[in-house]
């Protein structure tokens, strides 16, 4: 299967380079203070950028079929997760509250 080999090789290359090059290039020189400060703000920004669509724009079913619909269960389950995490300051409590809420939602809607 030369095509699939070529596909995986190509995908690997274009995925790997953005993962590795910044690390390689930025490690060999001292970083200016402003860049270090900016990089320290990348984490909350990425978490927000990944999380917001995952919670607000979730869908179920396969695109293009009748079963495809908005799914608000992520958003609903996020409420107890945020609340538990804010109150208990605990990583596990956050995930457990969210997964528990999700399990309840699934149990009562299927």
């Amino acid at each position: 299967m030369p095509d699939i080999l070529l596909l995986i090789a190509g995908m690997t290359l274009v995925t790997y380079l953005p993962r590795w090059l910044p690390m390689l290039l930025l490690s060999s020189r001292p970083l200016p203070g402003w860049l270090t400060r900016w990089l320290s703000m990348v984490a909350p920004a990425i978490f927000g950028a990944l999380l917001a669509p995952a919670l607000f724009l979730a869908h179920t079913g396969e695109p293009g079929t009748a079963s495809y619909a908005r799914d608000y269960s992520y958003l609903i389950a996020a409420v107890p997760a945020f609340a538990a995490g804010w109150y208990f300051r605990s990583f596990l409590a956050t995930i457990a509250a969210g997964m528990g809420a999700m399990a309840l939602l699934r149990f009562f809607s299927f």
Binding site: S40, P44, I46, A49, A52, A81, A101, M102, R106
Partner: protein, 238 residues
């Protein structure tokens, strides 16, 4: 090799593994529909190791897209890793090139999030990091192969709330930042912008990169607050 340190990474990999299994399995199911054997489905999970790109790739295969087209889309979808790689650099700059090269190979949204959280509270402990990454990676590959070998579109692994594991992990990792003014600003700006752009940018996940750059920049432009008020310095001085 520090086996105990390596295995202690399992603790941190757990939420990732819980979340990866159903998603990786679903990818395997779709990969078979796209004509991939379980072997090649697993090879893609091992080498590409990027969920959204793999889903888009098998979808495009079904639609009859060409190899260059799929590779180009994969490149665009995974450009967001540039930013994650750069943000992790201050913690791993003394690791040497081979260790960094392997570390980067296993960089995903989830491993980035968990590693950055660990690095800024516990330090960049190498064996534990590679252990955590290994267990997450092996779960992703195994789930893909199993999905391809035994799965059907009827498989429902969404029960038990497993599908909230990854979202819950991001909530947990984001929360400490929300207690600081800059972290809150970064998350709100990036989250809002990401939402606004998500459906307009062709579903190629570029909105994550654009929104995160904007969020981090806005946060940096905020005036530095006097450090006396709250005590979350371990996060702001990362």
């Amino acid at each position: 090799m520090d086996i105990r340190g390596f295995c202690s990474g399992l603790r941190y990999a757990m939420p990732i593994m819980l979340g990866y299994f159903p998603v990786g399995f679903a990818y395997g199911v779709l990969a078979v529909k796209a004509g991939l054997s379980p072997f090649w489905a697993g090879m893609m999970s091992f080498f590409v190791y990027a969920g959204s790109a793999q889903f888009i790739a098998v979808g495009m295969l079904v639609a009859g897209a060409s190899v260059p087209a799929i590779v180009l889309v994969t490149f665009v979808v995974n450009l967001r890793h540039l930013l994650m790689s750069a943000a992790l650099t201050p913690f791993v700059r003394t690791w040497g090139v081979p260790a960094q090269a392997w570390f980067a190979f296993e960089l995903t949204d989830e491993s980035f999030a968990m590693n950055l959280g660990r690095f800024s509270t516990r330090g960049a402990f190498k064996p534990e990091t590679f252990g955590m990454n290994f267990f997450a990676h092996i779960t992703w590959v195994t789930a893909g192969v199993l999905g391809a070998a035994f799965g059907s579109t009827g498989s429902n692994l969404e029960a038990f709330g497993l599908d909230f594991a990854l979202a819950g992990m991001f909530v947990a990792l984001l929360l400490p930042w929300l207690r600081t003014q800059r972290g809150l600003a970064a998350a709100l700006v990036a989250g809002g912008l990401s939402l606004a752009l998500a459906e307009g940018m062709g579903g190629q996940r570029l909105h994550v990169l654009v929104a995160a750059v904007a969020g981090a920049t806005v946060a940096c432009l905020l005036p530095e607050k006097a450090p006396a008020k709250e005590q979350d310095t371990e996060h702001t001085n990362a």
